[in-house]
């Protein structure tokens, strides 16, 4: 709630004079819309909200807002789609959320195969324009209705990352407003007139400073424009769908796309096969399904989901590789890849799904997933609240996390999931050189349950961290908490944060909580 004190009024009037009254809000009814999302942290803290929402229309507007934040020492964070809101949510007085709804610029450089985007351009919008000219920007896990820029800068797990690379590798020139309000251009954009075509430099590659595994949550400033790579799209201008949602059917051109659903007797064999497929560099997108995920992607309602699990239909395929071969260059490429894949299936002991299951799943689920993995639907089974343990590691390692995670999760999931749902979804990146894994069971969105699940998640994460595992629960601890278990990497990161953000105004509680760190340092310095 706005404090309504003199400082609040002063900031408000400055923001209004900068952006106009229609682009600044501090009314409690408007602020309520920026107080939470689906994740445990914000469910529990939804009563805490920002004091200002602003709608900048340009990079210059963003610079001015940040300069004002430095002058009056108020914290700010950003929002586009709002999916990962707890990472950006207000945690201190005078908090200002910068909402990018007015920054919707999208340009495509067809010849050089990249798109230049502002923060409020969704993946689906980029796809729509790119597909018209035979290009494509990937399958975002989060759902293609989320900001393509934010997705590349933060999470960026794409179904197509198997072939097109983890999202960091798809970032080209960026326009980055530092926490002090200065404009920094990266990659080729730093050279006057060179354009956006290259991502690295000048000097050290700054992309990974912003990106890493899951970004910096805007704590090192704001990216207002980014160029992202586009890749070849061998499909039609528009996805050919028919029917009325949610009963949509989609048939992709058979001469350019072919799905394979291959079940393995064990997870180990499945991962081995994934490695072989990666080594052969075939396919456009690949993921591992467990039976629970098959059921909820296939189901068109929550009731159908539980019904399917009770029937046990999808449990026949507990270790499935879903691989779509794309004839990027020609039909012949597809034919060649099919031959290679069939050989791998033979050698690795895989078994193709029966025709009936294939025909149930491909036109109604798999083909529409070519444009989005459709994250939001995962909330449905748990009454909209979902939390997951995410892992990023080698493919074998991802599965080694599963048993301990499920030991915790089982307490909060209905009993009929036991025995056939205890596994992880696996998304390989970079031809299986590494990948991401997720356990996303349903939880009821009730405060006591959410509280307990979150506590368990923290416990689990602390344990994993101690054991040197790179697991993380969405929207949890800043690195000053996890850093001590990873060679104190929070110490150099704190120095970087201090250099970039001397007033600690750029999303000050996430990525790294400098205040908490300083308090801890002081505490440690006290004579015992």
């Amino acid at each position: 709630m706005p404090l309504g004190d003199e400082k609040h009024r002063l900031i408000y009037s400055e923001l209004v004079s900068m952006l106009g009254e229609s682009n600044v809000a501090d009314g409690p009814a408007t602020l309520k819309a920026y107080s939470r999302d689906m994740f445990a942290v914000s469910v529990l803290r939804r009563k805490r909200g920002p004091e200002f929402i602003v709608l900048p229309g340009s990079t210059e507007d963003v610079q001015r807002i940040i300069q004002l934040a430095n002058r009056y020492k108020f914290p700010f964070s950003v929002i586009s789609g709002g999916w990962m809101f707890p990472l950006m949510g207000a945690a201190r007085p005078y908090w200002c959320i910068i909402d990018f709804k007015r920054m919707t610029g999208l340009e495509i450089d067809e010849k050089n195969m990249y798109a230049i985007i502002q923060p409020n351009v969704t993946h689906a919008q980029v796809q729509a324009e790119a597909m018209k000219i035979g290009l494509y920007n990937g399958i975002p896990l989060v759902g293609a209705h989320m900001s393509a820029l934010a997705n590349h800068a933060w999470h960026g797990w794409h179904g197509t990352a198997y072939r097109t690379g983890f999202s960091t590798r798809n970032i080209l020139g960026m326009e980055w407003i530092l926490p002090t309000g200065e404009l920094l251009s990266t990659g080729s954009l730093a050279a006057p007139g060179a354009g956006h075509f290259w991502g690295e430099g000048p000097g050290p590659d700054l992309r990974n400073l912003r990106k890493g595994v899951v970004g910096d949550n805007g704590s090192l400033g704001i990216i207002t424009r980014m160029a992202i790579k586009l890749h070849r799209w061998p499909g039609p201008r528009f996805l050919p769908t028919e029917g009325v949602r949610p009963q949509k059917k989609c048939e992709l051109p058979a001469d350019r796309f072919k799905w394979y659903f291959i079940n393995y007797p064990t997870e180990k064999k499945l991962i081995d096969a994934m490695y072989e497929i990666g080594k052969a560099e075939i396919g456009g997108n690949m993921e591992r399904y467990d039976s629970q995920r098959l059921a909820f992607e296939y189901a068109k309602s929550r009731d159908e989901y539980w019904g399917l699990l009770e029937q046990g239909y999808w449990q026949k395929f507990p270790n499935t590789i879903a691989l779509c071969l794309w004839g990027f260059t020609s039909e012949k490429q597809l034919q060649y890849e099919e031959k290679v894949l069939n050989q791998i299936i033979d050698e690795t002991g895989g078994e193709l799904w029966p025709k009936e299951a294939y025909e149930k799943f491909v036109p109604y689920v798999a083909n529409t997933k070519i444009r989005a993995i459709w994250g939001p639907r995962w909330c449905r089974n748990g009454g909209s609240m979902q939390t997951g343990w995410l892992v990023m590691d080698t493919l074998d390692e991802i599965l080694s996390y599963t048993p301990t995670v499920w030991e915790h999760l089982r307490k909060y999931t209905p009993p009929y999931l036991e025995g056939h749902g205890d596994s992880a979804w696996v998304l390989p990146f970079d031809f299986c050189h590494f990948g991401g894994g997720d356990n996303a069971p349903p939880f009821e969105k009730k405060e006591d349950i959410v509280k307990a699940v979150l506590a368990e998640a923290m416990e689990q994460m602390a344990l994993d961290t101690k054991n040197g595992k790179t697991t993380f629960e969405l929207a949890t601890a800043p690195i000053n908490v996890t850093g001590p278990s990873f060679a104190n990497f929070h110490v150099p990161m704190a120095k970087i944060k201090k250099a970039f953000d001397p007033n600690n105004v750029s999303n000050p509680t996430r990525f790294i909580d400098m205040d908490a760190m300083e308090r801890a340092e002081k505490e440690a310095a006290k004579p015992s």
Binding site: T122, V244, R245, P246, R302, I370, G383, Y412, P442
Partner: protein
């Protein structure tokens, strides 16, 4: 500690199985996934026309989206906010066309009916005396003159003057054509109502009208939250039709169609309710209407929300997993069967249709927002290269026509009845 946690067991209610309606549950369970703001991602065909929610596109702040209204509703239900806390509360709740785009999207992802929450909240606002000033004169006029058009009741039948049609206030008849407030009082659109009656008669339908004794259907009052007024007019119409021994009600306004089809049965109505496009589609299929004249025209078709996706949003009509059904094919069947007419579809059609901007009282309370929404639709229509946008609702026609005028454009906005008349 661990033992304590293990005491929690699921399910604690039926959250994980059968759907049930509960206003707070829906508001609380909103995941803030933002699906409500956009067309289904695999159906986004153009970056410029990718949104589904006019309110969130026009006002930008998330408060003016379905998600924001779930937050506001929850805050009011839980008393985190009171009406006095923010003068914007009324605007946030009422700056919405109730087009149901959000609702159609949310259903497919979260098994929820958020528009129903918004409509219930509007009704609660009215019950609590939180009245939108812009609505007051309209509702006052409705109470006095039985129409939503700020017009005199005595003029209601003028549209039908000279029309050779049965008067069901004095005679009995199986089929009644309910013209609705917009067609009765918007003189520029009288020809649509007259055309509809003529087409029915030409096909041999024994159709009648209520003339000056016709009253408002109550649909718009329902959308505005005035449930009492809705019930009064619904009961009045039901009674009048029963007295005239009516079996089938034909309407050419989508608001009225929705109300009669989905809401009247709750009040005991038992009539066949048919939109004029359904009826004509049926007559064409039966060979009772034939399109003989060539109409060389490239047209696009605008799906009215209440003739489309809204039909799956009504108390008792939503079944999770079922398609967001609407009257999508009959108008397209008709257009495609007219010789010479070429149908060029817009990017957002059927359940993804972009609203005309009129619904929910927006045409009366927020003309700038209404005009913005309609202008967006006209721009999308122009992208198809069509020379005319065809629709099947008088409110849509008015809204889109005004947008074309304000744009200084030449695109024709025509009701499907007008198109059919040219072909016969």
């Amino acid at each position: 500690m661990v033992t304590e946690k293990r005491k929690l067991s699921l399910p604690t209610d039926d959250w994980n199985r059968k759907y049930y309606w509960d206003i707070r549950k829906v508001a609380w369970n909103c995941a803030r996934c933002s699906t409500c703001k956009w067309v289904d991602v695999w159906e986004v065909k153009d970056a410029r026309f990718a949104k589904i929610c006019p309110s969130s596109l026009y006002y930008n702040f998330d408060a003016y989206s379905c998600q924001g209204r779930m937050d506001l509703s929850l805050a009011l239900i839980d008393k985190d906010l009171t009406y006095d806390d923010d003068p914007q509360i009324l605007d946030i709740m009422f700056k919405c066309n109730t087009c149901g785009g959000c609702d159609a999207m949310c259903k497919g992802v979260q098994d929820m009916e958020p528009l129903r929450v918004m409509l219930e909240m509007r009704a609660k606002f009215i019950e609590d005396g939180q009245l939108l000033p812009q609505f007051m004169p309209i509702i006052d006029n409705l109470r006095k003159e039985d129409n939503m058009m700020m017009q005199r009741k005595a003029d209601r039948g003028k549209w039908a003057e000279g029309l050779d049609v049965k008067d069901l206030t004095t005679q009995e008849g199986e089929v009644v054509f309910h013209a609705g407030c917009r067609l009765c009082f918007d003189q520029e659109l009288w020809h649509v109502a007259r055309g509809a009656v003529n087409l029915l008669k030409k096909a041999g339908v024994d159709v009648g009208i209520m003339g000056k004794d016709e009253t408002c259907c109550g649909a718009r009052a329902y959308q505005m939250g005035y449930r009492g007024e809705f019930t009064k007019y619904a009961e009045n119409n039901i009674e009048a039709w029963k007295n005239a021994k009516v079996k089938t009600v034909v309407v050419s306004c989508s608001d009225g169609y929705y109300a009669m089809k989905r809401l009247y049965p709750e009040l005991g109505a038992n009539f066949e309710v048919v939109h004029i496009v359904e009826y004509i589609d049926r007559l064409v299929k039966e060979g009772k209407l034939k399109f003989t004249r060539n109409v060389p025209m490239r047209v696009t078709y605008h799906d009215p929300c209440h003739l489309g996706r809204r039909l799956s949003q009504a108390p008792g009509y939503y079944v999770p997993g079922q398609p967001i059904m609407g009257i999508y094919e009959p108008p397209r069947n008709i257009i495609k069967s007219i010789p010479g007419v070429e149908l060029a579809e817009m990017y957002r059609i059927k359940e993804y249709s972009w609203c005309c901007g009129a619904g929910g009282g927006v045409i009366d309370a927020y003309p700038d927002f209404n005009n913005f929404t309609a202008t967006e639709r006209i721009k999308e229509a122009k992208d198809t290269g069509a020379e005319a946008i065809v629709t099947a609702c008088s409110w849509c026609q008015r809204s889109l026509t005004d947008a074309v005028t304000s744009m200084g454009d030449k695109m024709k906005v025509i009701d499907i009845v007008e198109l059919i008349e040219q072909a016969i």
